[in-house]
């Protein structure tokens, strides 16, 4: 296959991968601190996509502006969910948390199915088909924006974790819950903040996706499977790992789509998932074995 189409395919893959990374960031953050796998992540993404969709459809708010409302709103929602639903229901038992988040995802998804029906909906923004020519490829503007924002969010999250008190508290709780509590850290609050951050990541991803993607009540599932792959690939709980893993998965998907066809494009991702689980279960940048 010629370089003229290989290069654009790789660039497109990188751009898509950045959004995968953003979704995986929320997942990996929650895992790194709470040590739980959040099954409600996909449902939250769907909810965020619907929120962005209706803000555009009903209020005429551009998704790139809506992000400034939705990210804080989803932070609050995530905070409340962890503080008042998941936390109390789990009683600190990991398997309970797993079941609670799974239950939440079913509730959220079916509520949306009830209210919004199974329709696949899209929005039409003026810039959806704008392109920038880069290295012989015409790259779509919304995807470039998505890439830039995803990298920025990853950077901000890294800085938050290393440089702020909240970040230090999160890391302390992740390392040694009891020790952190003894030092006066409000563990329940830190848990909820972390969950809120994960939800905010999802809201940002939704606003970046909606200009070129569609929404229906099941759309989150496709992403959450990919996000899990990214998290496993990059290493559970690792932020740079999620970013690199996301970009890698994006490229693999794009190249598989190119060589195997659109119908089979996602096969590559899941083959890779199995290979990683077999040969490097802790992931590329995973700290824990």
């Amino acid at each position: 296959m010629q370089l003229t189409i290989l290069l654009p395919a790789i660039l497109n893959g990188l751009l898509t991968g950045a959004v995968y990374a953003l979704i995986a960031l929320g997942l990996t953050l929650v895992y790194g601190v709470l040590h739980i796998i959040n099954f409600a992540h996909g449902a939250m993404l769907t909810a965020a996509l619907f929120a962005a969709f209706f803000m555009h459809k009903l209020l005429g708010v551009d998704p790139y502006i809506a992000v400034f409302f939705l990210a804080p709103a989803f932070f609050a929602l995530g905070y409340a969910l962890q503080r008042f639903v998941i936390g109390p229901a789990a009683h600190g038992i990991d398997s309970n948390i797993l079941l609670v988040t799974l239950g939440l995802s079913i509730v959220i998804e079916n509520a949306m199915l009830h209210f919004f029906r199974a329709d696949t909906r899209t929005i039409d923004v003026a810039y959806a088909f704008d392109v920038v020519p880069i290295a012989g490829a015409y790259l779509s503007v919304p995807r470039l924006v998505g890439f830039a924002v995803a990298v920025l969010v990853a950077l901000l999250l890294s800085m938050l974790l290393t440089m702020t008190d909240t970040g230090k508290a999160i890391r302390a709780v992740a390392k040694e819950k009891l020790g952190a509590e003894l030092c006066g850290i409000d563990v329940a609050h830190v848990y909820a903040v972390t969950f809120g951050l994960g939800a905010a990541c999802v809201a940002v991803a939704a606003c970046l996706l909606i200009p070129t993607y569609y929404v229906n009540p099941h759309v989150g599932n496709a992403f959450v499977l990919i996000a899990f792959t990214v998290v496993v690939l990059g290493g559970m709980g690792s932020i740079p790992g999620a970013l690199i893993g996301g970009l890698f998965v994006g490229v693999v998907e794009s190249l598989c789509g190119l060589y195997l066809g659109e119908s089979l494009g996602q096969i590559g991702i899941f083959l890779m998932f199995i290979l990683v689980l077999l040969f490097r279960p802790s992931g590329l940048l995973g700290a824990r074995a």
């Binding site: 395919a9 696949t120 392109v131 015409y138 993607y213």
Partner: protein
């Protein structure tokens, strides 16, 4: 034993009452109240995928069918049945075969005399078979897969052409256009959706195009819905075919055309669609005139010489809707059914089936030959070739009612 009997009854009761509520909620016209007074309504199921990936086409189809029902009822209903009005029972196939089947079951228990619709091939394949179990006459509105009418189902009729006929016509017309221009095109790429409609059509084209002197560089399938055609367009760019043939549903067609425009990929000779989901849609042409410019299509088209067709077009456009093929195919199919009801003189399913089978109906709006059903397929059905020229859709073939000469090969950008 008695338990089963009871639960069956209850289920049927629940189904039919749920349907009544659903029909009332979705605003089944104002007719039923008047109908009950007369006591002689004929229930007809109008089945369309009005939600899901095919929602737009389904809504257009429902519009066409409803317009025909309104016209028939306004003109005094079915005269041979004492002016019985047609009572539409609306159903949503949810864009899936399972959804369609569930609606057929509901319509059957609601006591419809016939069903019109289905739209997508995979939905029609399922729904006709389910309807056949109840010997329920079924008029396929679009569903182009030939298997729909070749399985020997006695209840199934299709007024429009199947893709066998369409592919044959499309190929003959392509050869004619290409020959007339001095054979500028030799290589072809096919982009098709991967369900019964697109895959079946691609298979037909793969068999027939080489015989017409064309070389097929690649055949690319994609699922419905697809929201990213970058890879497909990159492949087209790499292979650089003279002609691109898309065969997919509306949303994907629009996205493919827009992505080609975005990536500045333009085949040398033509984008020549065969049953392109949007290629001869006024909606597409109006919303994206640049992406649509010069696209050719071999597809369903109304008869522009028929005043009834032009009146319908005016009526649809007056409602702020686009006059798409779903509209006039469903409109014609409902009129065809009404004619059969008129001759059957009863709401009896077997009588309607017999009347449909012997139909020679001519009051439709399509440019077809005489109506004659052989094994459920209307032998008169035929497609037309269109081209988008400067924001309008012109018929380029057949010459009998062509409104413009083809612009082929594509003029330099």
């Amino acid at each position: 034993m008695s338990h089963t009997f009871n639960s069956l009854n209850r289920r049927r009761f629940l189904q039919s009452s749920a349907l009544t509520v659903a029909a009332a909620a979705s605003g089944t016209l104002a007719a039923p109240a008047i109908l009950r007074a007369q006591g002689g309504a004929v229930k007809v199921g109008l089945l369309q995928p009005v939600s899901g990936a095919l929602a737009y086409s389904g809504q257009q189809g429902r519009l066409g069918a409803s317009l025909a029902v309104d016209e028939i009822n306004a003109a005094g209903g079915i005269k041979s049945m004492g002016g019985a009005k047609i009572e539409p029972v609306l159903g949503d196939a949810l864009s899936t075969p399972e959804g369609g089947n569930a609606e057929v079951e509901k319509m059957n228990s609601a006591g419809v005399s016939a069903i019109v619709g289905g739209y997508a091939s995979n939905i029609c394949l399922a729904t006709t078979q389910t309807a056949a179990r109840y010997e329920l006459p079924y008029l396929v509105d679009v569903g182009v897969t030939d298997a729909i009418v070749t399985r020997g189902l006695k209840n199934t009729f299709r007024f429009g052409p199947g893709f066998g006929v369409i592919a044959k016509t499309a190929l003959a017309n392509l050869i004619a256009i290409n020959d007339k221009a001095g054979k500028p095109a030799k290589t072809v790429m096919i982009v098709h959706e991967d369900s019964a409609f697109g895959s079946g059509l691609a298979k037909l084209l793969n068999a027939q195009l080489p015989a017409g002197g064309f070389q097929i560089l690649e055949t690319i399938p994609h699922p419905t819905p697809t929201r990213d055609f970058n890879n497909v367009v990159l492949k087209i760019k790499a292979a650089n075919p003279d002609i691109v043939i898309p065969a997919n549903y509306y949303n994907e067609y629009v996205l493919l055309a827009r992505t080609m425009q975005q990536q500045k990929v333009r085949p040398k000779a033509a984008i020549y669609s065969v049953l392109g989901g949007a290629a001869s849609s006024y909606k597409f042409v109006k919303e994206f005139p640049e992406a649509a410019q010069y696209i050719m299509d071999c597809n369903h088209w109304f008869d522009p010489r028929n005043p009834k067709a032009l009146a319908l077009k005016k009526k649809v456009e007056a409602q702020g809707q686009f006059f798409t093929y779903e509209v006039y195919l469903n409109y014609s199919s409902v009129l065809l059914l009404a004619d059969a009801l008129e001759r059957a003189k009863s709401a009896d399913r077997a009588a309607i089936t017999a009347a449909l089978a012997s139909s020679t109906f001519a009051g439709h709006v399509m440019p077809y030959g005489p109506t004659k059903f052989v094994d459920g397929q209307n032998q008169g059905a035929a497609p037309a070739n269109t081209q988008v020229i400067n924001g309008d859709i012109q018929v380029i073939l057949p010459e009998a009612f062509a409104s413009a000469k083809p612009i082929y090969p594509l003029p330099p950008a």
